[in-house]
Symmetry: C2
Subunit: 408 residues, 2 copies
């Protein structure tokens, strides 16, 4: 008997599912001696391992606690953590209550759920170019068309976006605009307040939601916070339950990604819909991990972890920017992030990021992500993303020197 | 300014997302004094809380371990756990290696991923009636048509299924058959080996995969195991990488659901596709939970937990069956499960399971699930699902007496 043939059985959407270069690159990290500027991976030196060990012990020591910690639970998430997050949002200009919060398996799951809730095949998702690769992967499963927004320039009219969307399929609509406004993945750039206002204007004229991916916003090294899109929208519409902005938060960059805990903050109506999606997708986030995360962030501990993380990553950012300035040929340019994990490098027109990566890994044991992976439109061949989060400053200098040598 | 209007922005699939009665019923459990025969919830008395506390401590005590436990990881899952599961599958008649295994957030996530991988809107999913509600919810997000299989009767031809599927939409196909062959949710019934063979015949003639949901199979109280559909298919096709059967396993009923760990065992080709879906959906299952689960099941501990669970649930099953026999009016019938959590009760034609539930909760403080929730076709109004997993035997007797009194 022949082997079963899977190809004809796959859904149409399977054509759009590709392996993530970033996830594949994680495997390179296992090679000894590699200097990795690849994935947006927090430095494990910062993980609160001792506090986590204590918190797991506490969650399992109490009789009733152990039962709850290891049992199924409600899809919305663990009550005390939802309350903590609501207070955290309020401290950042968004008056929220627990019923505005859904706990997700990292903010990646929030992106998947929002694609699932909003996208009918052929609908348009407005994204930046480049954009967070994981968001494109999450959305692509729901077969959207992509169109490009440039919030700092805002060079197209709402009508031109709507018209292009309607041409794609009968009844197709622009369904949302997705942005990473702070220390963006992959560019490291932050949207100005004026750009945020323009983006909200565009969304209002198109009458669509804005998905605000806030993964890196806590990791600011200098200057003042720019208000979140959700906070800015609240000052327009009056309250979260009237807002068009859906905010995606995560503890992965400030506490630890291994617990897989993020959240969505949005109007009650949307949270109610997303809870149904959570039920159908995986019932609930691990309860014990939610209890432990609550302990790890409660009573000021989150602020301390953030302060420590800022102090830890800032010198790494500095080392990378200094090395780039002193090592790179003049035809190479890059962004100057005020926070987060990433510097975005534009190579000379003729240099391919993929080819450079292949040479860098083979000849000099340095890894990074080719920028083209982050473009929905196939552009960006001569760009690369460098993450300074993992290597120590001396290694950052060594790694940048090696890349620069390949470009000279 | 008016509130943002979400309704026109939702995807078409949102029409098919409904709240789960079971998940909503979980909230009833918080009422004091209620006897619950509702959700398929394991008894927390069985949770290995002390072993879990020790395992979390171990995972976080070792320097390198803590870094890995709290970090991102590969989407396939934690290597040692995948190897353990491959050995476990081999011990149950399915020769598998680690690359045949994907770790999922419970088997619920496996169901969601298989819907995502296989269903284009309008395709047909073959299911039993009744069927596990969570599977219907997971699949429905991908907008299938449902058609009913009756593996114990097999009373329709392959052509009749294919023809009905093709009428639904241009290019629409039967994409899979989904079953819970052992101690099914919701009926408690187990497919005979002959029925399994007939189901594999039907799948072969239609040339579609079979999704085998094995959530309860370990909890057998008596008689011999029936070989899994995957094991039976291997004896037809020769090897797992040639098999049409996708097996969904979980630790939720034998260890604890709170860690959210299940798995899919299937041909390498399918696992490769599902890994891409895992990447895009939520990157990876919590690493620390995977490490802890590995410790909790390794070195014979899983077999001990299963033995303990069988000894624990069997008297509960007995209490329920005895109570039903002695208490119920003669017009009521029910299944006699050889394992698992559920008894399926058929009420007199004119009695609605929903009405009975509402009376049971309000008048006698007993909860269960109306059977209609498990039917894709709107039938089953006079059925209810009783789970004996949670209450103690004396409470089971009391609860059945109270329901019986409402029916007399």
């Amino acid at each position: 008997m022949t082997a079963f043939g899977w190809q004809p059985i796959y859904a149409r959407r399977a054509d759009r599912m590709k392996a993530s270069e970033i996830r594949e690159l994680l495997k390179l990290l296992e090679r000894p001696g590699i200097i990795s500027f690849a994935g947006g991976i927090p430095d494990p030196e910062l993980f609160p391992a001792a506090a986590a060990a204590q918190a797991y012990g506490t969650a399992l020591a109490i009789e009733a606690g152990a039962s709850a910690a290891l049992q199924y639970s409600v899809s919305e998430g663990y009550g005390p953590l939802r309350h903590w997050i609501a207070d955290h949002m309020a401290a950042h200009g968004v008056r929220a209550s627990a019923d505005n919060i859904l706990i997700t398996s990292g903010s990646q799951q929030g992106l998947d759920f929002l694609g699932k809730l909003l996208l009918t095949p052929g609908d348009t998702a407005l994204v930046t170019a480049p954009s967070y690769l994981g968001a494109l992967q999450a959305f692509s499963a729901y077969e959207p068309r992509y169109d490009t927004i440039r919030p700092e320039q805002s060079n197209r009219t709402p009508a031109s976006y709507a018209d292009a969307a309607a041409k794609e399929a009968p009844g197709a609509l622009v369904k949302f605009a997705y942005v990473v406004p702070d220390f963006a993945n992959p560019t490291g750039e932050t949207l100005s307040q004026a750009a945020r206002s323009r983006l909200l204007d565009l969304a209002a004229e198109l009458d669509v939601p804005v998905l605000e991916d806030s993964a890196y916003s806590a990791l600011r090294f200098e200057a003042d916070d720019v208000p979140s899109l959700q906070a800015l929208d609240l000052s327009r519409c009056g309250s979260l339950n009237r807002s068009r902005v859906v905010y995606l938060g995560t503890f992965s960059k400030t506490v630890a990604p291994g617990l897989r805990i993020g959240w969505i903050c949005a109007s009650r109506a949307v949270i109610g819909r997303l809870v149904l999606i959570k039920q159908a997708s995986d019932l609930n986030v691990s309860v014990i991990n939610q209890m432990v995360m609550h302990q790890l962030v409660d009573k000021g501990a989150h602020a301390q972890l953030i302060a420590k993380a800022r102090a830890h990553y800032r010198p790494k950012r500095d080392a990378m920017l200094v090395s780039l300035r002193t090592q790179m040929p003049s035809a190479v340019t890059w962004t100057k992030p005020q926070g987060g994990f990433f510097v975005w490098v534009t190579l000379p027109e003729a240099v391919s990021g993929y080819s450079l990566l292949s040479r860098a890994v083979e000849e000099t044991k340095v890894a990074f992500v080719p920028g083209a992976a982050f473009f929905h439109d196939g552009s960006g061949a001569n760009t690369i993303r460098l993450s300074y989060s993992l290597p120590k400053p001396a290694m950052i200098e060594a790694g940048i020197s090696r890349i620069a040598a390949l470009l000279r």
